[in-house]
Symmetry: D3
Subunit: 189 residues, 6 copies
């Protein structure tokens, strides 16, 4: 059986890794879809798809599982998003997501979806991680080692601080909320 | 004489129906343009264009008027929006709208626009309707009967609640305001 | 039962009308999808979506059938085309098409498709019609009366000749073949 | 040496003009890139690219410098934005910007960037200018004379007020902040 | 009076220059629109918009005329093309073109168009020029001097030969014809 | 050292596999970019990106090499194509391609490119393979075993025949040539 797990992975962190470790109890192969693949250099989406491909591939390599890591560009149209995902991914039997919109879209399309009880926890952890990176708190212990390497190799901390300046007047949580609301038109998981 | 009336119709409600009943005093034929046709499965735009085509067509069928119900996808560029509308619609002599941006764009293009005195009332009623649907208040008496049927047939209430969860932390009015601001780049009436 | 019949309708002609007359033996309601709605002012697609909405609506009005006439913009991605169509159209139970790509895409998506034995005859008739318009042969007897009116009202013959000049060096059949091949990336029926 | 200076120029004002006067101490030729060229008729982007081409060209004409005024449409993808700019502009040796995202993108692409010490002052002045236009305060002394002419010729004040109404419930600063956040996906300088 | 002259200018050649010299008898200011601005690195469109901005600006500089050189990206939708052009260009009173599609679109939009008697001569000269560049014949005497400089500065001859190889099996005229046919969906003048 | 090898892989065949076997003499890690990822269900591009991800991943799994298999959607703009590729791929030191346009674009961007002496042989083999599939000749011995499995699992032969019918009047070579010419605006390798 093949599963599909989608996230923005900005960056890939221990919460994602634990979710993958749970999923592999249930599937033989796993597709990891990198959502909003076309986004980068923003507060919410600092890393490019290629950088995230690297983070994810290196982090799941030690696991005993056949994996596919597939960037999924936003298509800005909820009604065709499931077809878009399916065209980019090897065929899968079950999708994993905690994002209510993603769950709704897959269910309307007749795809089985499984989630974990913690609502949106991935998302919250991602926001906190990026905030720690920005203000200079420790973050390295919250992500798999290969992610630390990628972030440093691409100058990710400086990039994140610079783009956070663009959104300017301070309060990152407010900026992220506005950005999230502005994302309408396609799930970015 | 043929008129053109555009709205997002999320969903089509009694306020829209009354506007149509007023317009038919002035025209022989009426085009109903369904704005933001490509949007669906969001708090502000829960229903697909096809679902809205159904709501509108069934609701105006009893009226004594030749009608055309035409989905209009967003084109994300105010400066070409009027040309886009004209290419999708049978030719019309007068446009009906209360949206100031729509009025401005039609006037700059030399199209006659008529409105009603109540500023943006359609929009406010739509927001309240969706809020009632979400929290479980009565809403069925605020829309024509065929709309109730369509909403139930497509599982519209559950869908709306699920996508509202995605926008998460609660305050729907704030989410709608942010979404509306984010809509910049094309009128969605 | 509701059916869905898609064509480019450039222009809507007697072959289309006969197909509709056959379909209404089998369905209660019919959606007529106007493909390549965003195309106009070319040899293969001379008329705008709005002009075609008019042609089709007026031509099917005398038939005893509830109809919906819906422009469908090209989405340039075969893998999501069926989802796109479904989002723009009222829900349907069966699709009607003679276009092999359309048939294939609907079938892969689990939609029942019915066709007529004449392969691609709609398409061939459309090409011949446009050629007659261009060179000045009689064409009015090959289309329903409302189509004649629309073509004349919009100056369609002059438009067609002018855009055919753009493609220049003569042989319209060759131009159409090249244009058709160039259409790859989305069915335009 | 050729420089590149990008701004949205909504509208072009004395702050921009002073920046240009400083830049010409350092370069022989200057490309003025008009960002978000596809945006118009919004609170943050009231003027079309063509109107801004006019404002800028007429304002820099008296300066002793070879200039190129080039509209740059948004490309909604930070990772390719620099390549996009380079394809639209004559080749340049140094870029001028105070926008941290623009600075970051150019630096990652190996382009030299120079800025002025005042962080984002251009932007703040633009916001204030548009607010003055909207509420009826004096603004003409804050822009070069040709800008006054263009604004009046296109009915810019009325347009700005009308589109501000669309964003409705009042507080323009809040609207601009939300719009700015929603801009994610491409620098608009 | 301000005129608008659009071409792809791949490259700008003496035929274009002569046309400009005729036009300046009739207008005070001239906008030169660079069509298909987003295209480059193909047989039909070897040069980027920025390279063409340079060619045109330097070539018209000696003429006694106020000029604006404006890249116009393709918008792939004939029905909105005129609005798109108008949004990117300073307002103009008359358009100059020999392209029948461009003429038709401007006329349907109520814009005055003037042409020269030679049908499509610009286009034919462009094709021949590119063929000369490709096979190694003399071409420098057919373009203004600044164009020679730009072509050499960007390695244009080698680029053209390389991309011609991509289209492979030889006959460039056939490739250009197929490409031209494939361009449907927007005038590229 | 990490290499990047791009192809459309429609389907992945022994020619590609041999190229990969040569490349791994020179690199430690290899990114396989799947070009035209958004195309499917056409004569030239019968398989979806997801199906090709499967073909390639399974075929290179036995090789002693760390690989990344990354779908790359077309971006329809040669001038930003390299940036697009880089944003989707882990960073690479050298690109492998025999496509002259791809070579030219990488070189203009300062990326080292290596090719093999056989010009466009990959491409020719792909065309012949699809022709064999269409007419019913043996093709299975020309591709790695996992490709045979994928093609059969998705009903690839029937799909290819059906879409070839759409392009109708017979001569597949002509159709492919026209389609290839129509591809202008982005390398699809």
């Amino acid at each position: 059986m093949r599963g599909f797990y989608i996230g923005r992975f900005q960056p890939y962190h221990n919460g994602h890794q634990h979710m993958v470790e749970e999923i592999i109890e249930e599937v033989d192969e796993l597709v990891l879809g990198i959502g909003s693949a076309d986004a980068s250099h923003t507060v919410r989406n600092p890393f490019t798809a290629g950088e995230r491909v690297m983070m994810v591939t290196k982090s799941v390599a030690p696991l005993d599982l056949t994996t596919y890591v597939v960037p999924i560009e936003d298509i800005d149209r909820n009604s065709v998003w499931v077809s878009h995902v399916r065209s980019m991914s090897p065929a899968f039997d079950v999708a994993y997501s905690n994002n209510p919109l993603v769950v709704q879209l897959f269910r309307e399309a007749g795809v089985e979806v499984r989630g974990s009880p913690m609502y949106n926890r991935d998302e919250l952890e991602g926001t906190e991680l990026r905030e720690r990176m920005r203000v200079g708190d420790r973050w390295e212990h919250l992500v798999p080692d290969p992610v630390v390497e990628v972030v440093h190799a691409v100058g990710g901390i400086e990039r994140l601080r610079r783009v956070a300046d663009t959104d300017a007047n301070g309060d990152e949580a407010a900026v992220e909320a506005a950005e999230a609301a502005a994302d309408e038109g396609g799930p970015d998981a």
